[in-house]
């Protein structure tokens, strides 16, 4: 894709990053010392940090504001999903999963504002997110089971096919960060490309319905990324069926899945 000038990155580069780079003696080619997706990353991270500090200062049990109630709804929905997928001990993973969801969601939606871009439409950003998820769920698996038991977890239940299964599992685990990052990148990049192409055909009018669709798709992609993270975490942290078959799924979800309630 040809490098285009985005409003925010050119402003940030002209007044902040380029002077800083010159002061530090770093040489850069072209007009911008920092590429646009990194600028957007910085902007979104700062916005989220400032907003979180602002929100935390106004938290109260007796008199919750609208913002607090909205975020409590989001928290309840996400922890509900995590309890269904990972198990009863799920809320300890909420810091990563909640931040991932809010960050990816905001990043996807920022691309719809003229003059800004989605940082997730660059493969480097989504690859970073995928690698973080990969390292995190493996670390949690090691912490939960210990090194040998977690490695045995890859080998499957039967000793007979264990060598074959171990190799296949390792390959499939290596493919996970790749598939996570390419899924997010492909969706957001395709969406931006479609809006860009329609804008060149006929400015602003044809692309409006596509932008409405992109709102929906961006939310869905953030949700799917987070749900896949939960699935991977659940697979790494879960215990074998003999240990706790009943704790893997709470009773109410087993009921609501309809398998045990003939109608």
């Amino acid at each position: 894709m040809p490098e285009e000038q985005f409003f925010i990155s050119s402003v940030l580069n002209r007044y902040l990053f380029n002077p800083a780079a010159r002061a530090l003696g770093i040489h850069f080619s072209g007009q911008e010392s920092v590429p646009p997706h990194i600028c957007m990353l910085v902007v979104i991270s700062l916005l989220l940090i400032i907003f979180s500090i602002f929100l935390r200062s106004r938290l109260s049990v007796d008199n919750p504001g609208n913002l607090q109630q909205g975020f409590e709804v989001l928290h309840d929905a996400l922890t509900g999903f995590m309890r269904d997928i990972i198990g009863p001990g799920a809320p300890r993973f909420f810091p990563l999963i909640g931040s991932l969801f809010i960050f990816i969601w905001l990043s996807n939606l920022f691309g719809l504002v003229p003059g800004l871009m989605s940082p997730t439409s660059n493969i480097n950003v989504t690859a970073g997110l995928g690698i973080i998820v990969f390292l995190y769920y493996n670390a949690q698996g090691f912490r939960e089971h210990g090194f040998l038991k977690y490695m045995a977890h890859f080998a499957g239940p039967s000793l007979l096919i264990a060598p074959l299964l171990f190799v296949i599992e390792i390959i499939s685990h290596m493919a996970r960060p790749f598939s996570l990052s390419v899924r997010l990148f492909g969706n957001i990049f395709a969406e931006e490309l479609i809006i860009d192409t329609l804008n060149r055909l006929f400015p602003f009018v044809i692309s409006l319905p596509v932008m409405a669709l992109a709102l929906f798709a961006g939310t869905l992609q953030a949700f799917i990324f987070v749900v896949l993270t939960m699935v991977y975490l659940g697979g790494a942290v879960e215990h074998t069926h003999a240990e706790e078959a009943h704790h893997a799924l709470p009773e109410d979800t087993v009921e609501s899945s309809g398998f045990h309630s003939p109608k």
Partner: protein
């Protein structure tokens, strides 16, 4: 049988288009930029085969992806209408499955985008 005939017809059409484009590419081959030169500096002449390849790859991928997603959605709708109590579970699995199916088309899209937007692949043969 009829579907097979249509498929073969499309295949023949594709081969014909490929043939004309490659002949066109060979005619224009004399004006190709030298190897290692920056295509941007010389106006960036794209190999026409790239356009055909990217377009056909995306079309085939979109067709397969659309068919597969329609199957998944139909099964999901049938499941919900048979057992409305399981709506939440089915919706969750359908959305997850759609994401997995979509990923295959997205891989094709990424390959097509790499072909189209990477100047290294541009110079005509």
């Amino acid at each position: 049988m009829k579907q097979l005939a249509v498929f073969i017809l499309m295949l023949v059409l594709a081969v014909m288009i490929f043939g004309t484009v490659s002949a066109f590419a060979q005619e224009k081959g004399g004006a190709a930029p030298a190897a290692g030169a920056n295509p941007f500096a010389q106006g960036g002449q794209k190999n026409p085969l790239l356009l055909v390849t990217a377009g056909f790859a995306m079309a085939i991928a979109a067709a397969g992806c659309g068919y597969a997603q329609s199957q998944a959605l139909a099964a999901g709708c049938e499941g919900v209408s048979r057992n409305p109590g399981a709506t939440d579970t089915i919706r969750f699995f359908v959305i997850l499955g759609l994401a997995f199916i979509e990923f295959l088309a997205l891989l094709t899209f990424v390959v097509a985008a790499i072909l189209l937007f990477t100047p290294k692949f541009w110079p005509t043969a």
